[in-house]
């Protein structure tokens, strides 16, 4: 193997369930192959909280439901050459975006929080209050897909995307051979 400089990748999980990150691990033994090609910078997988240098590829799981998500996404956009949205939440908002369906209300966010912490049928919340620690990031008025907040270069669909499609796409992106997905890979029925 020639001594090509390794590519740097970074990952982040925003408003998602971390399932897409688990799916990254689903590439199994091919991880070894992948690690020959890349170094992992900022990522929950390395537990690095900040970028150490500019990255070639940033992988985003989840959409934006709070201000911190937006902050992180901005950071990724500024520090990565290519941004990849991984999975339905990053692409479309996914399950968290169900709260966007509270439309016929004057205060949808308030209604959502009340339902989740106070009035909901199965809630056990002895304080009867919506959590409001100053360290908690403020919620956005609705959940936004990543592409509405920053420009996204590629999207890998799936909930969660399979290990195969993740490996295949990354490998092709790293070698500049990505030309879109095989139909079989994005056919879910």
């Amino acid at each position: 193997m020639s001594e090509l400089p390794k590519a740097r990748i970074a990952t982040a999980s925003l408003a998602g369930c971390f399932g897409c990150h688990m799916a990254i691990l689903d590439i199994d033994e091919r991880l070894i192959e992948l690690m020959k090609l890349v170094d992992v910078d900022r990522s929950p997988l390395t537990d690095k909280k900040q970028f150490t240098q500019r990255c070639d590829i940033g992988i985003i799981e989840g959409g934006c439901c709070n201000e911190e998500n937006v902050h992180v996404l901005y950071d990724f956009r500024r520090n990565c050459d290519v941004l990849v949205a991984l999975g339905q939440c990053a692409i479309m908002g996914g399950l968290p975006a169900m709260r966007n369906a509270i439309m016929h209300s004057d205060a949808p966010l308030r209604e959502c929080l009340d339902e989740a912490y106070i009035t909901g049928k199965y809630i056990r919340n002895t304080t009867h209050q919506v959590p409001n620690d100053p360290a908690l990031p403020l919620l956005l008025d609705e959940v936004y897909p990543c592409s509405q907040v920053v420009e996204i270069d590629y999207q890998i669909p799936g909930c969660a995307p399979s290990g195969d499609i993740i490996f295949d796409t990354l490998a092709k992106l790293l070698t500049g051979r990505f030309r879109g997905f095989e139909r079989e890979m994005i056919k879910f029925d």
Binding site: N66, E67, R77, A107, L109, P137, V149
Partner: protein, 626 residues
């Protein structure tokens, strides 16, 4: 626009001020229409007219009488915008919210009504006296701004005339008194022409020139159906509603279908914004239209027909009913027409209730059947299986009128006019920024520039040919010809001056399609909303270069996957302006900075949470510590 459905959310709806609806009265109404579920639209219209709303209990009763389920009745009642589930005012004022009306000063007129009546657009006054709302084009673009006050039409409104009308209404005057003091003493025709001007600017040889009475029908009764088909086919007549299907073939297809019954339907649901030619034909040439329908019935072997009149043209109802009655009396409709044994045909006037999509022939047939006006899957085509499954000929008003004239003067005479492939004349309804808006009957083949010279609109910067579902062209295309092969039009010819904002027009047309989509298929129901939002992005200056590609791609998807003509043409305002006015779009796009979207505004996105949490943002508020 947001207030379109606002009857439901405008303030607190007043409790039903009309007297409690008695079951016997509802039963009587149903009885009047034979408890026939196919007359549902008539039943609901009458209930709406009488009680100003269709209450839940009423729907139960109607369902019981017509042997339907409650939800089927509600499906119809909630589909049409002139029917309402919550009480409307005794006087309902519908301001025509077309783009032409907006440019003609609709805003000022609307303010006057709001001011005098003390209610906003989309609201009903607490005493149940007035409702005020916007409605899409009511076919009065040549005399905009216009409004419907119950069944009365007011045109050429100014803030002054609007104020005196509103004040008179508020003082308790009946709407028709605004039009004429002795309205009741006028004949139906006089009433119509008192309310609405014809504005015939150029009468051609075929339709608006002198027309001998029933000469075509006299010839038709002596001819075999085959000879009639041949004559219509040889004339080259094509449908005038927009699609341009060969009329003779349509009739022949329907006739060749073996069936117990055949039907003839006239499509007078002239809903395309900027089109009002049928209005003038219905006013001035109703006999010619019915004659044409009768000829079609003779040829196809139909005994029943419908004249489907759009709800906005309800002011023509009495006039048309009188014409039908007159023809029945003279033996031109009914049994043994013109003394010919076995030539039986009669026509029922079917009124719509404010749904653009009903101009699509499948949706129109659904509406005649008493269903929500949803298009039908094609094939089968109406000529094979239409109204109640029987072969049905659906033609535009103008097409039937032409057919009657062809039977009178012969195929050659008609064929000689116009151009190769587009024979005869076409009624153009011209409106917008020109000196002489109105109706022009011209042979096919005139260039846009020639028409503009005729109407006094040479200053135009853009012309919308065929309405929003047609083509928007710029100056560099004014040499193009009005024919089926070049610029096809159902009649609309809307002139826009250089001072008009093309993107504003496009956004208006998209909001029109969003409102009028029947909602059956997703590409049209959802796709048009996305298109409208994307255009808003351009208007607000937040669009990126790649958004142009997005517009094209999304439009392509909507066109390819929609079920009926509405969705197949609704992206046209976007596509034709992208093609013909590329600079309008490229002038407002800019690449996003650092790949961060301008359209997303973090400050407004967290504003609600700031108020709920009663604290500032640690990340995005600079003065967090203050």
């Amino acid at each position: 626009m947001d207030n379109r459905h606002a009857g439901m959310n405008g303030g607190t709806p007043p409790s039903c001020v009309a007297a409690p609806v008695s079951d016997t009265e509802i039963a009587e109404i149903c009885e009047k229409y034979g408890n026939d579920k196919h007359r549902m639209l008539d039943i609901l219209r009458e209930v709406q007219d009488r009680y100003r709303c269709i209450a839940p209990a009423t729907m139960d009763k109607i369902a019981e009488k017509t042997d339907l389920t409650r939800i089927e009745v509600e499906g119809v009642a909630s589909f049409y915008s002139f029917l309402s589930l919550t009480p409307k005012g005794r006087v309902t004022i519908r301001l025509c919210d077309d783009i032409v009306d907006r440019f003609a000063g609709l805003d000022a007129v609307a303010h006057v009504f709001e001011d005098v009546l003390g209610i906003g657009i989309g609201q009903t006054s607490p005493d149940g006296a007035f409702s005020l709302e916007y409605t899409p084009c009511i076919g009065m673009c040549d005399q905009a701004p216009a409004a419907m006050v119950n069944d009365i039409v007011l045109t050429r409104l100014t803030p002054e005339s609007a104020r005196s009308a509103a004040e008179a209404l508020k003082a308790g005057q009946a709407p028709e008194k605004i039009v004429a003091e002795r309205f009741q003493e006028l004949t139906p025709y006089e009433r119509v022409t008192r309310m609405v001007d014809n504005n015939i600017r150029h009468a051609g040889e075929i339709l608006l020139g002198p027309v001998p009475e029933d000469a075509g029908l006299q010839n038709a009764v002596k001819m075999t159906p085959a000879a009639i088909f041949t004559q219509i086919e040889e004339s080259g007549l094509r449908g005038c509603g927009g699609a341009g299907f060969t009329t003779g073939r349509k009739w022949r297809f329907a006739a060749s279908e073996r069936a117990e019954k055949h039907f003839i339907i006239c499509n007078a649901d002239e809903g395309e914004p900027g089109t009002f030619k049928d209005r003038v034909l219905l006013t001035e040439r109703p006999h010619l239209l019915i004659e044409g329908m009768t000829i079609a019935a003779r040829a196809v072997g139909a005994r029943e027909g419908f004249l489907y009149l759009r709800g906005e043209y309800v002011y023509l109802r009495e006039h048309l009913e009188q014409v039908l009655e007159d023809r029945r009396r003279r033996g031109l409709l009914g049994q043994h027409i013109m003394g010919v044994k076995g030539f039986n045909f009669d026509i029922r006037l079917q009124l719509g209730a404010g749904a653009y999509v009903c101009g699509e022939e499948g949706a129109l047939i659904s509406s005649c059947e008493g269903l929500p006006g949803e298009p039908k899957t094609r094939p089968p085509f109406p000529v094979n299986r239409g109204y109640l499954g029987y072969p049905t000929v659906v033609n535009n008003v103008e097409t039937f009128c032409h057919a009657a004239r062809i039977l009178d003067r012969g195929a050659e005479w008609f064929h000689a006019q116009g151009t190769e492939g587009s024979h005869g004349t076409k009624l153009l309804s011209v409106c917008g920024d020109c000196l002489n808006p109105g109706i022009y009957e011209l042979p096919y083949g005139h260039t846009v520039r020639e028409v503009l010279a005729m109407v006094g609109g040479l200053e135009a910067a853009a012309v919308q040919v065929g309405g929003p579902s047609g083509t928007m062209i710029a100056r560099d295309s004014f040499h193009r010809k009005l024919t089926f092969d070049d610029l096809a039009t159902g009649g609309a010819f809307i002139v826009f001056g250089a001072e008009r904002n093309i993107l504003e027009i496009v956004e208006y047309y998209m909001s029109f399609f969003v409102h009028e989509s029947c909602g059956y298929c997703t590409p049209c129901r959802v796709g048009n909303v996305f298109l409208q939002k994307a255009i808003q992005k351009f208007r607000s200056g937040h669009a990126n270069p790649e958004d142009i590609e997005y517009l094209k791609e999304l439009s392509g998807t909507i066109i390819e996957t929609s079920r009926c003509g509405l969705g197949m043409t609704s992206p046209n305002p976007v596509l034709t302006t992208l093609r013909n006015f590329p600079l309008v779009y490229s002038a407002v796009i800019k690449p996003s900075k650092d790949g961060i979207r301008d359209t997303f505004d973090i400050q407004s996105a967290i504003d609600g949470a700031r108020k709920i949490a009663k604290r500032r943002s640690y990340i995005f508020d600079k003065d967090f510590t203050q």
